[in-house]
Every structure is written in C-alpha cells, then in structure tokens.
C-alpha cells in the first residue's frame, strides 16, 4: 500500500513535468527539449520566493508560473526564429539546456537547494493505514487540478479545439485559416507555466539543482512516449503508471529501477507505437 501511495505522488509530479511537453510536442510538433530547463527555473524561483523571501507557497508558485510563462514566451520567439526542422530544434534545445543550467548556477550559486520547507505542509496524513506525507498529498492535489484544467482547456475552449485540430492534421488546420502560430505561442506559454508550477511543487520533495533540465526532460519524455500524442488523460494515465512502476521497481529491483521505466516505454512502443492513448494512423 505504501508503494502505491509513493507511486501516485511521484506520478503527479511526473504528470506536471510531462503535460507541457506532451502538448507542445504532440500537438504542435515543436521539439522543445529545453522544457526541463523551464522546470528548473520554476524550482529555483519558488525556492527564492518561498524559502529565502518567505512569501506564502501559493504566491511563490504563482510567481514561478508567471516567470516561466515569460520564459516560455522568449523560448517561443527563439523557436520561431529557426526553421521547424529537427536539426535546428535539437541544437536549439541542447544549447538552451547548457546555457540555462549555467545561468542558473551563476544566479543561484552552485549549491543545490534542499527540498523546500513549508511549515503547513509538514507531517503526514493517514489514509487507510498508510502515511502519506502532506507535501506529497499537496503535489497530487495540484497535479490532478492542473490535469483537470488542461483537460477542460483542451476539450472546451477555442484554443483547445485548435490544438486538437492541429494535432490531427497541421496542414489541414492551416488550410482552414486557423492561425497555428498563435496556437503555438499559447501552448508554449501555457506549457511553460505548467512546467514552472511543476518545478515549484516538485521542489517540495526534490529541491532545485542544475542537473534538473536533463533529469526532468528524460522523465517527461518517457511519460510522453508512453502516454501518446498530446492527450491530457493519456499523459495522466502514463504518469501514474510510470510513478507506480518506479515505486514498485525501486522496492523490488533497486539496481534496475531506472531501467524499468525505459523498458516499459520500449514495451509500450512495440505493442502500441502511438502510445497508450494513441489513435492508429
């Protein structure tokens, strides 16, 4: 039971990490591997606001979301500036990872930030005989709230409809007179804001450090590949499955734990090349 609780809380963090990337990549076809760097910025900003400056956590995380949204805006400009081909996007992403990580080290110093300590999130909650740390519970709640919000945005709003249309057929959508550039911008900003929130919430257990751009990217990647193209529910299910698998395999085969994730990904890919939620082409 404890494993399940651990897995779900990890899954919530994974969802927050992965959903922005899933939208950008699946819906817009933009390969922004620097998504993890945005997460890192969110974590550092939250650390500064909530831990060093003593602002309430909610304010700090909103601050992180705003700053990351602005960063997303800047990134979108950069990605707009290059042709939308894999070569350029790969190089741009890797460059941003190097530069942002080094910049973060410059600004926030080389020492990793310990997991943020928020007094009202200390202690654990007993749920069905299992101790769930309150901070994990908060992460899960925020994770599911964001999932619901994203799902509503995708399902009920005009932008969401455009995203879905773009997902199905970018050429056709352009033909219909929808301004995909605007949609890309909106998704970039929204995805980055979510990454910022993910960084802030994830910081409650993981802190902030300059290794995160790569670490987070890889976790998010697996979530996206398993979850399938740009679908919020698919990403959520994938994140939970991966969280549970990770908790389980760490428990049973610690030597192979991180490999298990990738094996799951390979397995899903072999059986369903389009991911769990994927439609067949």
């Amino acid at each position: 039971m404890q494993i399940i609780a651990n897995g779900i809380s990890l899954g919530a963090v994974l969802f927050l990490m992965g959903s922005g990337l899933a939208l950008l990549l699946g819906a817009m076809g933009v390969l922004n591997l620097a998504h993890g760097a945005v997460y890192m910025v969110g974590a550092f900003v939250t650390s500064t606001l909530a831990v060093d400056q003593g602002y309430p956590l909610v304010v700090a995380i909103l601050g992180a979301a705003v700053i990351c949204a602005a960063l997303g805006l800047a990134l979108e400009r950069l990605f707009r500036f290059i042709p939308g081909r894999p070569n350029e996007q790969i190089l741009m992403s890797f460059g941003l990872i190097y530069v942002l990580a080094n910049l973060a080290q410059w600004i926030w110093g080389p020492i990793a930030k310990a997991p943020f300590r928020i007094s009202w999130l200390e202690g654990a909650v007993q749920i069905g005989g299992v101790s769930v740390p309150a901070n994990r519970l908060a992460i899960a709640v925020v994770g599911f709230a964001i999932a619901l919000m994203l799902w509503l945005v995708q399902d009920r709003t005009r932008v969401g409809a455009m995203v879905r249309a773009g997902m199905d057929d970018a050429e056709m959508t352009k033909g219909l007179g929808i301004n995909l550039d605007r949609v890309v911008l909106a998704v970039f900003v929204l995805g980055s804001a979510v990454a910022g929130i993910a960084g802030g919430m994830g910081g409650l257990v993981l802190g902030a450090n300059t290794n995160q751009p790569m670490e987070v990217l890889l976790m998010a990647l697996v979530v996206v590949v398993v979850g399938g193209i740009g679908s919020v529910p698919g990403t959520l299910v994938a994140a939970l499955v991966i969280g549970l698998l990770d908790a389980f395999s760490r428990d049973r085969f610690p030597e192979m734990s991180s490999v298990m994730l990738y094996l799951l990904m390979a397995g899903v890919l072999v059986l369903r090349p389009t991911g769990l939620s994927g439609r067949t082409a």
């Binding site: 390969l31 500036f81 190089l91 990738y262 890919l269």
Partner: protein
C-alpha cells in the same frame, strides 16, 4: 594514363593531409597528441553517426549509447575476463554494438518523426543508466569503470601517446574510407532516398524499414569500435560518456561540419572536441555557456549553410558538382 592522373589529382590532397597528420607527433607535446587522438575518435564517432543521421535521415539522440556498448564490452572483456588482444577486443566490441544497434533499431523504428527522436533519446539514456546502476558494469562500485589500457596488437609495438595517435589516425582513415564507400554505393543512395522521400522509395520497391535498420546497425557498429578506442585511450569509460549529453554533442559535431556531406561530420567532430577542451581553458566556470552558445548559434545560422557551402565550393572549384563518387 589520364585516369591515373585524374585519380591521383583527387587523391593526392587527401594523401598529403594524411601523411602530414601522421608526422604531427614530431611537432606536438604528448598532451596535444592525446587531445588530438581524442578528437579523432570523437570525429570518427560523429562520422559514423552521420551515416544514420545525415545520410539516412534518422535523427538519433541515443548514438553515444551504441558507442558505449562497444566501450563497455571492451572494458568487460579486458578488465573482468582478462583478454588482452586488440583484435579480439575490437571485434567483440563491434559485434556487441552491432547487436545492440539492431535492438535499438527494432524498438526505435516503431516510432516515427519527432517521436523517433524522443525514443532514441530515452533508449540511449537507458543504456547510460544501466551502466550507472548495474553492479555488473562497475569496477569496485566506482562511478566510472577504469583499469582499461591500450591492448596489444601482437606486433611488439611500443605504445605511447605518439604511436597511439598514429595508430588511431590510420584506423580513422580506414573507417572514413569505409564510410565513403558506403555513401558512394547504391546502399548509400538508398539511404538518402529513404531520407528524402520514404513514400516514393516504397513505391520503387524498396523496403525502407529494412534500409533504416541497416543504416542504424552500420552506424552503430562503427561507433562501437570508436567506443572501444575511446575506452583504450582514456583508460576508462563513464555513464556520462555514453549518455544524452554526449549524444547531443555528436549531433552538434555532425551538423556543424555539415551533416549529410562527405567529411562534414568528421571535421565537425575534431572542431567541437578541441573547442570543448579549449573552452574550459578560457573559462572554467562558463565553459558550458560557450558550448551552449555554439549549439544555439549553429541552430540560428544553419539555414544559411547551403549558401555558404555553395559560395565556398564555387570559390574553390569554380563549379558546382553534385556527383557522388
């Protein structure tokens, strides 16, 4: 006789360059030889990546892992099982990486487009994580495996940085020659065809999937050899050497020198390896910024490459030739 001369005219510059490079140890310190050897190995790795990346259009971000399989195989056989023959180790490394590339290809080719890139990235990281966490692949639980050295060729050779450099140079020339041959063959043509227009290739009777598998396996096998050479030269190999960061650098090398051209990836490999070293001499704290900046600037300027390349070519040769040898 005319053919002899035309052939010579094309080959002489390459030959002069090769012989010049062979004599470099007379001018360099052993540290510079060592750095150049490293550059050659990475350049060769980038050139073999480009066989899949540039020629066949398979944007792999997990290539370093395939080189890593070669490197770790050489380490395993040498340090754990005591094999000391260069030839044995290099063949084993090639076979192991060929097998790994095959699995890599079979899984990653299930995905297409951007997803292929993501999957190669994740598969590459999986290998790196395996090397990081699996006790079987560690020496004394250290973070990098060590204890490997340059094995014997069985020719009574005397290894030091100069001879190693020359030996690697000769191997690199052979490897580059092999790659040229593949590029110039109908197989290479089929790679480029699959890259440019999959649907048409299929309609011309080509099983594109099979050619892609072949491209990845050839490219991975050559890299595996480079991985083993890297381990011999450094005396170690670490999970980072085979992880995403290295794969990304290999892609930068290939692109910066001219992905899909004959010598581009190789030249890029030498440039980036040297730059990586000297960036750290210029600024220890901000070296990552320099490398990252190089990535971004290359991304921004990439679209102007055809123009620049065209201008250069018309400067040097006076005409544009699209012939493939």
């Amino acid at each position: 006789m005319t053919t002899v001369f035309t052939q010579l005219r094309r080959k002489v510059p390459v030959l002069v360059l090769l012989i010049g490079a062979l004599e470099l140890p007379f001018l360099l310190s052993s540290q510079q030889e060592s750095l150049l050897t490293r550059a050659l190995i990475f350049a060769m790795m980038a050139a073999s990546l480009d066989l899949a990346y540039g020629q066949a259009g398979l944007y792999s971000l997990g290539h370093a892992a395939l080189a890593g399989v070669g490197g770790y195989t050489a380490w395993l056989l040498m340090v754990r099982y005591g094999h000391e023959s260069f030839w044995y180790l290099i063949v084993a490394a090639a076979l192991a990486s060929a097998l790994a590339s095959l699995v890599f290809a079979l899984v990653s080719l299930r995905a297409r487009g951007l997803y292929f890139i993501l999957v190669t990235l994740a598969l590459g990281q999986m290998v790196s994580n395996l090397a990081q966490q699996w006790d079987f692949l560690k020496t004394a639980q250290a973070e990098a495996v060590t204890g490997i050295y340059i094995p014997s060729l069985g020719l009574g050779e005397d290894w030091h940085s100069g001879t190693l450099y020359q030996f690697v140079l000769v191997l690199t020339a052979l490897g580059l020659f092999t790659i040229q041959r593949i590029i110039g063959s109908p197989l290479g043509l089929a790679f480029r065809g699959s890259r440019d227009n999959e649907v048409r290739m299929e309609a011309l009777g080509y099983d594109v999937w099979r050619y892609r598998v072949v491209a990845i396996v050839l490219s991975g096998t050559l890299s595996g050899v480079c991985g083993a050479l890297f381990a011999f030269q450094s005396g170690l190999i670490s999970p980072t050497n085979i992880g995403v960061a290295t794969s990304g650098l290999l892609v930068l090398m290939a692109i910066i020198g001219g992905s899909g051209t004959r010598y581009g990836a190789f030249i890029g490999g030498i440039l980036v390896t040297l730059l990586q070293f000297y960036a750290n001499q210029w600024s220890m704290e901000r070296a990552p910024m320099i490398i990252g900046g190089l990535f971004i600037v290359t991304a921004l300027l990439l679209r102007f490459r055809p123009k620049v390349a065209g201008a250069l070519r018309s400067l040097t040769r006076g005409r544009v030739s699209h012939a493939v040898a």
